[in-house]
Structures are given as structure tokens and as C-alpha cells.
Amino acid sequence: MVDPKSDMHMTIRVKFFASLREQIINPNTEVDGSQAKTIGDVWKLATDVPMPPHVLCSVNLEHQEPDAPVNDGDEVAFFPPITGG
């Protein structure tokens, strides 16, 4: 977990949805933004497991590929294929 005394602007918030939220046990919901250049880096900092195939990603509510860049203050989310409608 991130040191609560660290600058909040240096963190990236991480969210997991649906089956992924149930499968990823105790992920970090904030990671150090200075250590993450891409969404893939955020996954590695937030979890202990490899990213499963077919995981979808977003940055600041926009769909992105896992190699997309991230910045301090971003909200990154991971979720399985969507099944609405």
C-alpha cells in the first residue's frame, strides 16, 4: 500500500470490476505514479498475478490498451469483457 503521508498527486488510483474484482485478492487501490509508465506497469504494481488475457483497461474513464501511458493522478481500471444491454 501507498504510504498515507505521500503526496496524493503522486498516486494512481486503481479499480477492478466484476469477475476481476472477485478474482484479484487484496490489490493495491493506489500505486506510486512515479513507478508506472503504462497501464501494464500499474497492473504489476497493484497485483501479484499476471494480467489475464482479454482484460480490458481504461484511463480516466476512456478505453485504452495495456501499453497506453499513465500519469500521476490518473484513475486506471481493469475489467472483463463487458456484457451489458
Binding site: 470490476f17 469477475s19 481504461s58 474513464l61 475489467f79 469483457p81 456484457t83 451489458g84 444491454g85
Partner: protein, 145 residues
């Protein structure tokens, strides 16, 4: 061109009528609508309930983008998307898409586009409760074309 996320049951037909009442009389000639309703069977199993999860903020944004894209592709007068979230029972509506246009080709095409785009882009996830009390995530959508 409203987008609504409903945590409680909604009446799609009443919502279609209420929105249509805001449009100028005689301006549109074609209204295409689609209602998705929860069935009591899926993939051969009896289903007694469903939890519909979404990503608050992103879901609304994607639904608005879907309508924006439809407006770029077809001459439409207005559009409406309503989507249920939360605990749903068989027979309850899940989604409504409506398009009003001058002519039917644009209305049909755009209404179907809204549904297909929504299903591929808007973050919603379904978890079913089966008759034996077990739960399962729906892993994929049925084909739309």
C-alpha cells in the same frame, strides 16, 4: 438526447412516450426502439435473478459517446438510452434504445447501432443467479448481427 442509468425497475414504453412528448409534433416520421428484457433462461439454465454492475462515470460517458457517434453517421432527430443496474428479476427490462428520425432507414440503422455499440463499449457486467442458488458471471454477449 438523454442517457439514463436506473437502479430501480423502469417502464421502457412509458419512458419512450414521455420523451417523445417533448419533440415537436409532425417533425419525425420514424421511431425505432429496442427493449432488452431479462429472460428466465440463459444458455439452457433456469435463471432466477441477475446483478448488473457498472462503472459509474465511465458508463454514462460511453453511452453519450455512442449517441454522439450515431448522430455523426445518421440524420437523427433524437435518441434515448436507458439502462438498468442493480438487482434484476426475470421479465424486467434491462435496456431501452430509441431513435427518432425523418425516415425509417436511419431510425432502424441508428437504433441497432446504439445497441451494438453499447454492448461493445459501455462498461456493464451481468452476474446471474441460477435456480440452484449458484452465481455465474455472463462471459460474453450473444451475436447482434
Amino acid at each position: 438526447m438523454p442517457v439514463l442509468i436506473k437502479p430501480e425497475p423502469f417502464d421502457p414504453i412509458a419512458m419512450q412516450a414521455a420523451h417523445e412528448a417533448t419533440l415537436p409534433t409532425g417533425s419525425f416520421g420514424a421511431t425505432a426502439s429496442f427493449i432488452g428484457t431479462m429472460r428466465n433462461v440463459n444458455e439452457g439454465d433456469d435463471v432466477i435473478g441477475m446483478m448488473l454492475e457498472h462503472y459509474e462515470g465511465m458508463t454514462e460517458k460511453e453511452l453519450e459517446a455512442v449517441i454522439h457517434d450515431a448522430k455523426q453517421k445518421w440524420p437523427i432527430d433524437d435518441a434515448l438510452i436507458v439502462h438498468r443496474v442493480g438487482a434484476i428479476e426475470p421479465g424486467q427490462p434491462i435496456v431501452l434504445t430509441v431513435v427518432w428520425s425523418a425516415h425509417r432507414a436511419a431510425a432502424f440503422d441508428a437504433c441497432r447501432f446504439l445497441m451494438e455499440a453499447l454492448k461493445s463499449r459501455a462498461p456493464f457486467w451481468k452476474k446471474e443467479t441460477l435456480k440452484d442458488g449458484s452465481h455465474r458471471w455472463v462471459e460474453r454477449n450473444t451475436p447482434g448481427y
